[in-house]
């Protein structure tokens, strides 16, 4: 008997013979915040991220300000030019020298201040982790109320890799002292900007 068959047989022999129907989960969206972007921004700040304020005339100005001193910028968002291109055949570790990564999120979640990044958003998945800092563009029309709504989105059934980023890489493993940039990015900034 294969290990699979043995494990399955053991489960079938031991499984509790109890009636436990599958529960259905409500969307818990009764108390929707009046302004989803504002709620998103407040949660993001709590989680150590930063919501950038788009300039009314030149929306991308706050992003350019951030990138001023950066040596290596790698962008997978057409709105923001970088100086290191994602090219076919690139190895994930090739992004280790990047100062700023720039990507566009699929959507955001107001409840937690999370952005959803898929493999298509990232181009190379390590673009979300190996750069020192990460800038994310988010269409304010693409913010869902909460995590229940978030999991109704199509991305989870399409992308091979999809992730919620909720603030930057963080740790407080030593004496509870909070530190950003444990292994991944040291900061996460989100600019609300409609998709072109």
């Amino acid at each position: 008997m294969s290990s699979r068959d043995e494990v399955m047989a053991s489960i079938r022999a031991h499984r509790p013979k109890l009636v436990r129907p599958e529960p259905s989960v409500p969307l818990f969206d009764g108390a929707t915040p009046a302004n989803l972007l504002e709620a998103f921004g407040q949660q993001l700040a709590r989680m150590g991220g930063e919501l950038l304020k788009p300039d009314p005339v030149d929306p991308l100005a706050p992003v350019r300000d951030k990138l001023l001193g950066a040596k290596v910028v790698c962008s997978n968002a057409p709105e923001v030019p970088g100086n290191k291109a994602l090219v076919p055949g690139m190895k994930p570790a090739d992004l280790a020298d990047v100062d700023y990564g720039v990507v566009r999120a699929s959507f955001g979640v107001a409840e937690t201040g999370s952005v959803c990044l898929t493999d298509a958003n990232l181009g190379v998945n390590t673009l979300g982790y190996l750069p020192q800092r990460l800038i994310v563009l988010l269409d304010p029309a693409e913010i869902v109320i909460n995590i229940h709504h978030a999991y109704r989105r199509p991305e989870w059934r399409q992308a091979r890799y999809a992730v919620f980023h909720t603030g930057p890489s963080a740790t407080a493993d030593i004496e509870g002292v909070l530190i950003h940039g444990a292994q991944g990015v040291r900061s996460l900034s989100v600019l609300p900007l409609a998709r072109q």
């Binding site: 436990r20 989960v25 999809a162 992730v163 890489s169 004496e175 444990a182 292994q183």
Partner: protein
């Protein structure tokens, strides 16, 4: 949080602010403390339980040594209680909290009673996504499967994120024997690996260590300055030391918080992004997953994602919640589904609900015994309330004394996000131990006397005022002596002048 009284006021740090602030407000997401804390005195780190082959682990012996190191004990107690208070804050922020707990419990019970069907569905969908699925009956088979995958790729260095299952499998020692270098990428877990210690807590593995302990380990193993205990310096040292190992690794490994049957995806939650680095940087990603991690749907996943980090750390969400549905272009993804005693546990009438556990650690943070004795005192893979009901399923003799390391106050069950009846199972394990003669002699004699007393209401009522009166009048040396474990390391509460029964008879009994 500032209105919350500290357990140990002397730990309050009035020095230059540490940690992170935003707009003058202290950030306390992830496992960050809501209050600045700092121990004032250096002291050597107390070590964990002494393991002597298959002999029963003596948790209280190790706990006594932990209590004898007051700086460590206070910091541990305070930090974990802070996590518990942050958890309460998050709970109060969500009106549907109790409904979510009911749902989480119901989803887990539904899945466990249909586990074969959901595992099959997960396997079918994962395979369709291009994932290679393996099955392991036990820890040894898990290790051999992973080794075979690594060897077939000529992989020599594996970077991994934290996984309690790999701890359960003694994975690192096995791989060391076979010449595979394992690099833990979670800061806390890396500290523990470098110090050759097991994780002491399921989500904060080095919570029992003080900064001076970490500075010492890093000085020895990473060549950092032994006199610099600055936490930012220590964390940065580790980041810089680990990064080249990440970018040059041959393979990556992660655990699995949830396996979603309907999509075939594996979900991993971290605060550091180290699971994403481990899975996305090398060409090969191996997932170790316990068979009880499967859940039916994405709708169900939402419930657990909302509960996990809030229960664990009092943070609304882990910084990273990562969904691996298939290998990336040019990469390979394997999932090893591990039984290792789980399917048999499913058949234990009293204990199968322990399989609902999502490893959040809330029961540890709230447990007065755990907070004051440290996770390593349990001498087992799983510590704290959930540990003392899981460990005996692996070895009922070696872990026979663990179910007695509890006050049965029930707080663990009250904070459990999947509503496991932890304290009832602890009591049930005590019964099992007494029936199988795994009870220490002293406990046996005391239980017998207590049993006789509790079996007779008349005898109990007669005895209670005497005991209370004795507590009020006996000299301290009689209450706080070596034979009375309850007087050790704690003050016995003031005994009431009247028993409840006497009070009731006087005040309410008349009204009838």
């Amino acid at each position: 949080m500032s209105e919350n009284p500290l357990l140990h006021r002397d730990l309050l740090d009035s020095g230059p602010p540490e940690g992170m602030t935003r707009g003058g407000k202290r950030l306390d997401h992830a496992e960050g403390t809501s209050t600045p804390l700092r121990p004032k005195v250096r002291e050597p780190q107390p070590r964990g339980a002494r393991i002597r082959g298959n002999r029963p682990v003596d948790q209280s012996e190790a706990a006594n040594r932990f209590i004898a190191a007051p700086e460590h004990e206070k910091m541990h107690d305070e930090r974990l209680w802070d996590l518990r208070q942050k958890r309460d804050r998050e709970m109060h922020g969500i009106p549907e909290w109790e409904e979510l707990r009911d749902l989480a419990s119901a989803i887990k019970e539904h899945t466990l009673t249909h586990l074969d069907a959901y595992l099959e569905q997960f396997e079918t969908n994962a395979r369709a996504n291009g994932v290679q699925v393996h099955w392991a009956r036990d820890a040894g088979e898990h290790n051999r499967i992973v080794l075979a995958i690594l060897e077939s790729h000529g992989a020599k260095r594996l970077i991994k994120s934290k996984s309690m299952l790999t701890e359960e499998c003694d994975f690192r020692p096995f791989m060391a024997e076979h010449g595979i270098e394992i690099i833990e990428t979670d800061l806390g877990e890396r500290i523990q690996q470098l110090d050759d210690e097991a994780p002491s807590h399921v989500v904060v593995p080095a919570v029992h260590k003080l900064r001076a302990d970490v500075a010492q380990v890093f000085a020895e193993k990473l060549g950092s300055d032994p006199d610099t205990e600055d936490v930012h310096y220590l964390a940065e040292t580790q980041r810089e030391a680990t990064r080249p190992l990440i970018t040059s690794a041959d393979a990556g490994m992660t655990g699995c918080n949830f396996a979603v049957a309907e999509t075939g995806a594996v979900v991993v939650c971290t605060n550091e992004g180290n699971a994403d680095l481990s899975a996305n940087t090398p060409p090969l990603h191996i997932v170790s997953a316990g068979i009880e991690k499967v859940i039916p749907r994405l709708d169900h996943l939402a419930v657990f994602v909302r509960l996990l980090s809030r229960s664990a750390l009092g943070s609304p969400m882990t910084q990273y919640t990562s969904h691996f549905r298939g290998p990336r272009a040019g990469g390979e993804m394997h999932v090893v589904l591990v039984d290792n005693g789980r399917s048999e546990r499913l058949g234990m009438e009293k204990f199968w609900p322990s399989l609902k556990c999502i490893r959040c650690g809330a029961c540890m943070n709230t447990c007065p015994v755990f907070r004051r004795s440290g996770g390593l005192s349990y001498g087992a893979t799983y510590a704290g309330p959930i540990g003392i009901i899981l460990d005996p399923t692996f070895n009922a003799h070696k872990y026979s004394k663990l179910p007695f390391s509890s006050t049965l106050n029930g707080s663990c069950s009250n904070v459990c996000p999947v509503k496991i009846n932890i304290h009832e199972q602890i009591a049930d394990w005590r019964k099992v131990m007494s029936e199988t003669h795994e009870l220490p002699l002293m406990k046996k004699a005391m239980m017998k006397a207590a049993g006789a007393l509790l079996a007779s209401p008349a005898l109990y009522r007669a005895a209670l005022p005497l005991a209370d009166s004795a507590l009020r009048h006996l000299p301290r040396f009689i209450i706080y002596n070596r034979l009375n474990a309850w007087g050790r390391g704690r003050e016995v509460p003031h005994a009431p002048k009247q028993t409840f029964h006497q009070w009731y008879k006087e005040n309410r009994g008349r009204e009838k």
